[in-house]
């Protein structure tokens, strides 16, 4: 893809676009500071060359991302022209007028949401959920997945020891319970003269970590937020017997199969634990998988990937984001121009090639997609069964309540799973009452 081809294409497509390009703008795109963000910087160089606009980036580390960006939106700030905001923000972004509604723009520019994977459109773009009101373009598909030390799993001595300990063959876990069994097997085991541990999982308190981790177990036990969608009737769903069992499972996994000191651990810590060779398995977002695969120490042949194992049902916790235009920006035209550019199939293909997770069907359905990376088939499989947290405008309150209840129970070891979930329903009920939804 050369610049000249791009120039020709853009001249052909829209004269309005050329007029907008006439005044070069300084655009700022806000996102989280992580591997895909670096890829986006690389990708955006094409846009700069083609449009004449300059792209600036404000990347905030995940633990502070929601806090700082929501604060920015709520204060009506003009820092960001474009925001790749988390999926759960869409309700608030839409209802509070932080995000521009993109329907007219999509219609005018011929961008069709049918070209994007339906799960991602539903999760990243629409509000109210599933209605054809679009506040973002799916930018980065993501789900929580797992990776493991393939070299250890394939080591005959370790395989033999596992067989002896459990009577089973060591392999990629097919259920959550197998995952725990394997993790417990590795916990405290000496490999190559070093003590290793089972798995690193999310336990972070401050933002969303422990919720994202624990829901990975909850969803596979069939956890539901409501008895019927949209009813806000949570009694018996949130605290069902299955949910209690799943939460107890996650606590046991934390207590018996994770390295010491990982009491407040999220993406970075999970990566650290794996890259430093402390753990046999780790959970993290697919977004990191390209970087992990390229890691000189634990990547390549040494690493394998798998989808969040099912228990009663197959399910993965949804991550990922859509890209939105901030309503307070003075440079909305240029920002829309960026989205228009970004939505093009060949840009989307390059996005995937550089390490971003495109949601465009042309990319995902391309014949070579599954072979293009070892985790590509897993990604498709995971995205088929993703579930997301509440996307309500009050999402922050709902999330903080869950963070507190889960961390109090799992890490601080207070109360029972049943109590934690019962209290969670109380918290959530209060929020929805405040919202006037119950």
């Amino acid at each position: 893809m050369t610049t000249s081809r791009w120039l020709a294409a853009s001249v052909l497509t829209a004269s309005g676009l050329v007029a907008a390009s006439a005044s070069a703008e300084d655009l700022t795109l806000c996102w989280a500071a992580w591997d895909p963000a670096n890829a986006l910087v690389e990708l955006s160089k094409d846009f700069e060359a083609q449009s004449g606009h300059t792209m600036n980036f404000e990347f905030v580390p995940w633990p502070n991302f929601a806090d700082r960006m929501l604060n920015e939106l709520n204060s009506g700030g003009k820092l960001c022209d474009l925001l790749i905001g988390d999926s759960q923000w869409i309700g608030g972004g839409a209802e509070n007028g932080h995000y521009l509604k993109l329907n007219d723009f999509f219609a005018a520019e011929g961008i069709s949401m049918d070209d994007f994977a339906p799960a991602t459109v539903y999760a990243y773009s629409t509000w109210p959920k599933g209605e054809p009101n679009y506040y973002a373009l799916p930018a980065m598909g993501d789900a929580n997945g797992w990776f493991y030390r393939k070299d250890w799993f394939e080591d005959p001595a370790i395989q033999a020891a596992y067989k002896e300990a459990t009577g089973m063959d060591l392999g990629v876990p097919e259920t959550q319970e197998q995952l725990m069994q394997i993790a417990q097997f590795f916990q405290g085991r000496e490999i190559d003269g070093q003590t290793r541990y089972g798995a690193s999982i999310f336990t972070e308190r401050g933002s969303e970590g422990i919720t994202m981790g624990a829901t990975g177990a909850l969803y596979t036990w069939g956890f539901k937020y409501e008895n019927a969608p949209g009813s806000y009737d949570m009694e018996g769903a949130v605290n069902s017997a299955d949910a209690v069992e799943a939460l107890e499972f996650y606590k046991e996994l934390y207590q018996t199969a994770t390295p010491p000191g990982y009491t407040d651990s999220y993406m970075e810590q999970s990566l650290d634990a794996f890259k430093s060779g402390q753990v046999a398995m780790a959970m993290n977002w697919f977004a990191f998988f390209p970087g992990l695969y390229a890691d000189p120490n634990v990547g390549g042949d040494k690493i394998g990937f798998f989808v969040n194992p099912p228990q009663k049902v197959a399910a993965s916790t949804l991550g990922g984001q859509g890209i939105s235009v901030v309503a307070y920006s003075d440079k909305q035209d240029a920002a829309l121009e960026y989205i228009k550019w970004f939505a093009q199939p060949d840009v989307q293909q390059k996005w995937w090639d550089l390490g971003g997770y495109s949601c465009h069907l042309d990319v995902l359905n391309a014949p070579g997609f599954k072979e293009s990376a070892p985790f590509a088939p897993d990604f498709l499989q995971a995205m088929d069964a993703v579930q997301d947290f509440w996307q309500e405008p009050a999402y922050a309150e709902l999330l903080l309540a869950m963070q507190k209840r889960l961390h109090d129970y799992i890490v601080a070891d207070q109360g029972t799973a049943q109590e934690a979930l019962d209290k969670l329903i109380e918290d959530w009920t209060e929020v929805f009452e405040d919202e006037g939804k119950i």
Partner: protein
């Protein structure tokens, strides 16, 4: 126990006291030394166990502090050999420098907001302190207490209405907003400290000047101000240190354009994992000016930290 006297310590007592104090000082300084040392470690040395006291110093932390880096393909790396010493450091990890980091901007923000608010609060504080010191101001004690009581609110509580106010006025995440806010916070300190300094300047000087035909304003300018210079400078440094160190308001009311260094430094991360040498390097550069100022301020320290309540 009978041989010692409270007023006249014996040489042996001095020795014992000296050794204990020095021991405490050494222990208390270790975390600071560790910050400086970690800034010069390689990431691997920084997280090695047992902690390394001796290590080969490197500027990696500082390079990482001031740059953003991305991974690149082997072909690209082979085709573009590093040109500078800092690029060479980055290349060890098969990465290239993508651009400057935000640290420089945040540091400059700290300077602008720190000096701006210090100038304003000392300027206004000097005027108010002079008036409180020399004139009968109605409700003087109440006003002085009111000024002080504004410091009793937790910053988070103050920040709630300030946030709304800034949003309405368009002051969110602006230098001006932060300067005004820090001025308002600092002014109580400035007034109290400067009033103490002014009280110590004998009134006789001014009165003599007034008799010589100076107006009150001239007397203030030509007699009192020169005498108060030490106090003003000390006050200014205290205000500067407060603005420099402040975190709660900064984290709540700024997001980028006017963000200062304290909320930024803890968010410095490397590629995959917290980059402790870079954090330490950032902390070192940020803490250094305060360390220097503290040594300067030694004599007035007590007065500054107690709002002039204890003068020594």
């Amino acid at each position: 126990m009978s041989a010692w006297s409270i007023t006249e310590p014996t040489p042996r007592q001095k020795w014992v006291a000296g050794i204990l104090v020095v021991l405490y000082a050494l222990v208390t300084i270790v975390p600071l030394i560790w910050i400086v040392a970690t800034g010069f470690k390689s990431p691997a040395d920084a997280i090695s166990y047992p902690p390394k006291v001796l290590f080969e110093p490197t500027l990696e932390g500082y390079v990482n502090l001031f740059t953003t880096r991305t991974r690149q393909t082997q072909e690209y790396l082979d085709a573009n050999p590093p040109e500078t010493w800092y690029e060479e450091i980055v290349r060890q990890y098969d990465m290239v420098i993508a651009g400057p980091s935000r640290y420089g901007e945040r540091f400059v923000n700290s300077i602008i907001i720190g000096f701006g608010s210090t100038f304003l609060s000392v300027f206004l504080g000097t005027l108010a302190a002079y008036a409180f010191s020399r004139f009968k101001v109605p409700l003087k004690d109440d006003l002085l207490f009111f000024i002080l009581s504004t410091r009793m609110m937790p910053p988070i509580a103050v920040a709630i209405p300030i946030f709304l106010m800034f949003r309405t006025l368009g002051l969110s995440d602006t230098h001006l907003g932060m300067i005004l806010l820090y001025t308002a916070v600092n002014i109580s300190l400035a007034v109290w400290l400067l009033k103490g300094f002014m009280d110590e300047i004998p009134r006789e000087y001014e009165e003599a000047a007034l008799i010589d035909g100076y107006t009150r304003f001239q007397a203030f300018r030509k007699v009192v101000l020169p005498q108060a210079v030490t106090g003003i400078v000390a006050t200014a440094i205290f205000c500067l240190i407060f603005s420099w160190n402040e975190y709660a308001f900064a984290v709540l009311l700024t997001s980028g354009t006017a963000q200062t260094a304290p909320p930024f430094i803890p968010t410095i991360i490397g590629v995959g994992g917290q980059d402790w040498p870079a954090v330490a390097a950032g902390a070192t550069l940020f803490l250094l000016p305060v360390l220097v100022f503290t040594v300067f301020l030694r004599k007035h320290l007590l007065r500054g930290i107690t709002f002039g309540a204890v003068r020594k």
